[in-house]
């Protein structure tokens, strides 16, 4: 139970990463690798500000804003300097490694004694429930802290998902979806594709940095290595989400990305429980994304193959 609550909390936090990856990879078809750097950037900025006793809400927003700046730079590299999509992301991601080290001043910033969104949520919950350290949920003892963090994160992710959904129904958001779907058409309707792409990448990396910021507060530290492989994790969640909800309505896909992220973290938690070597996690995730990417084409091949002998 504790395992599942933890996995669900992390899954919800990384759902913001999945939403960011969904925005760049799926809406724009832009394979944005910046994510590995911007998730750490969000964590680094928030952790450093918290270590300087800033208010957790402000420190979190600052992490989000820093991610937007990173996304903007990737967008500018691609649109203004015509650097290939992957390379733009790789350049910013690589640069961010140094930037993150500078921000933190060392490779790891612990937050154990700082006030964070997690500790604030815990305070609110223990005020509401007046005291007991453990709650009883369906017969299982759950610590107040786990419960508070899970509810807080859930509320936040629902809010972000809802705002994102509403944004995609506005004039600007509709234009953003159309930009990914058919840039030639949206340009002929008077929209600057460059501007929309930069804005979209800023939003995407803002969300990803927000995930990093929350992750640092949840696990109690920021680490310069924590972003490695995150794009692939986000992509895995998006792919799982798409197969969970089917269809292509934007609202469903947003819900799917969140569900995909939670399910993915739970699978990971269970696999680790069963004795999977944590070092193999990234290899297996990469393998999973590979299979998910090639499987649809292979399936189509198998389906159309028997038609040939019939025709002959």
């Amino acid at each position: 139970m504790i395992l599942l609550i933890g996995a669900t909390s992390i899954g919800l936090i990384l759902a913001l990463l999945a939403l960011g990856v969904y925005l760049s990879f799926r809406i724009f078809n832009f394979p944005d690798i910046t994510a590995d750097g911007s998730i750490t950037l969000g964590a680094a900025v928030t952790a450093t500000l918290l270590a300087h006793h800033w208010a957790p809400a402000v420190a979190t927003l600052a992490g989000f804003a820093a991610g937007m700046v990173a996304g903007t730079i990737t967008g500018l590299l691609h649109t203004k300097f015509k650097i290939n999509e992957l390379l733009s992301g790789i350049l910013v991601m690589t640069a961010l490694y140094s930037v993150n080290l500078h921000i933190m001043g060392k490779s790891n910033v612990p937050l154990l004694n700082e006030s964070t969104l997690a500790s604030q949520a815990e305070q609110v919950a223990s005020y509401l429930f007046r005291g007991p350290a453990d709650l009883n949920v369906l017969g299982w003892p759950v610590s107040i802290r786990d419960f508070a963090v899970l509810s807080g994160v859930l509320a936040l992710v629902v809010l972000v998902g809802l705002l994102l959904y509403l944004f995609f129904q506005t004039n600007l958001g509709t234009a953003m979806r159309a930009t990914g779907d058919n840039p030639q058409m949206i340009r002929a309707l008077g929209v600057s594709v460059d501007y929309i792409l930069i804005l979209g990448l800023a939003l995407s990396n803002g969300l990803i940095a927000l995930a990093g910021s929350l992750l640092a507060q949840y696990q109690g530290f920021a680490d310069v290595q924590m972003g490695i492989g995150m794009v692939v994790w986000g992509l895995a969640s998006v792919i799982i989400g798409e197969s969970l909800v089917g269809g292509r309505r934007i609202g469903l896909l947003i819900v799917g990305a969140v569900m995909g992220s939670i399910l993915f973290r739970q699978l990971v938690a269970i696999a680790l429980r069963w004795g999977l070597n944590p070092n193999d996690l990234k290899l297996i995730t990469a393998g999973f994304v590979f299979v998910a990417l090639v499987a649809p084409a292979l399936l189509r091949k198998f389906k159309s193959a028997p038609a040939k002998p019939a025709a002959a």
Binding site: Q169, R177, D181, R187, A188, L189, G190, S192
Partner: protein, 270 residues
């Protein structure tokens, strides 16, 4: 009014692939006139339309439209003044978005797009009414993805989108070439209706001599990046499809001469 003055466009200049797609082209189009452009493959018709739309900037010359000098404007800036339908039915619409969403995007062509609600109920009713005028039965399917429609239906909708906000100039580049004859007829009829109703200044490229003769009030024939013939007024009124085909034959005959000689002859001829 559209005023094209001495525009030149060379692709891949200074390389073996150099193509002089537009060579000193000038055209003046009065407001409300409907110009048909014909010409052999590769004669520069699409390049001319793209130059006006701003797909690329011209190497030399000036382009003026409705009182603005748009020579250095980017494509999306020009879209404020220009409505466009492409040859490929896939080019003009966003396939994964609904019919209603596509039209809602077109209803703000060239206008700022902020955080206002995209598909308001008022707009939905308005676009349903306009889609009904197409007589294609699409008004009951406005929430379906536009990618599920046929090419003819998509071109009809693209035409509606391009003309939703009355453009200063409508650009049509072989917009029926990819359609079956019946759909092509339908789209041509719609084109005629819309242009007549809104008195749109129009540039239309076609390979159909029938369309060239039946539509519009002026015919320009392009060849090797130049305007070769410009038929207006009584001359245009008299012209029949056979006359146009004859002019194509002339071009073809001249083509068989040495290109250098042909070029020289052409210069004297024009």
């Amino acid at each position: 009014m559209l005023e094209i003055a001495n525009i030149t466009k060379t692709f891949h200049p200074g390389t073996p692939n150099e193509v002089r797609a537009l060579r000193d082209v000038s055209l003046r189009l009065e407001a409300g006139s409907f110009l048909i452009i014909i010409g052999t493959n590769g004669s520069g018709k699409s390049t001319l339309l793209n130059a006006v739309a701003g797909t690329f900037l011209v190497d030399e010359g000036q382009i003026g439209l409705a009182g603005h000098s748009i020579t250095r404007w980017s494509e999306h800036q020009r879209a404020k003044l220009i409505g466009r339908v492409f040859q490929n039915p896939f080019s003009g619409t966003a396939p994964n978005m609904s019919i209603a969403e596509n039209l809602a995007l077109a209803a703000r062509r060239g206008q700022p797009r902020g955080l206002g609600w995209g598909l308001t109920r008022k707009l939905r009713q308005e676009l349903q009414a306009r889609i009904r005028t197409l007589n294609m039965g699409l008004e009951s399917r406005i929430d379906n993805p536009i990618g599920t429609l046929s090419g003819g239906q998509r071109q009809a909708l693209t035409l509606l989108m391009a003309s939703w906000l009355k453009p200063e100039l409508l650009l049509l580049d072989e917009h029926t070439a990819a359609l079956d004859p019946k759909s092509a007829d339908q789209v041509i009829r719609l084109t005629h209706e819309i242009i007549q109703r809104d008195r749109l200044t129009t540039l239309m490229v076609t390979h159909s001599m029938q369309q060239a003769v039946n539509l519009g009030n002026r015919i320009v024939m392009m060849h090797r990046g130049r305007v070769l013939h410009d038929l207006q007024g009584p001359e245009r009124a008299r012209v029949r499809p056979e006359d146009l085909l004859k002019r194509f034959d002339e071009v073809r005959r001249r083509e068989q001469l040495d290109p250098a000689v042909a070029d020289m002859l052409q210069k004297n001829y024009v």
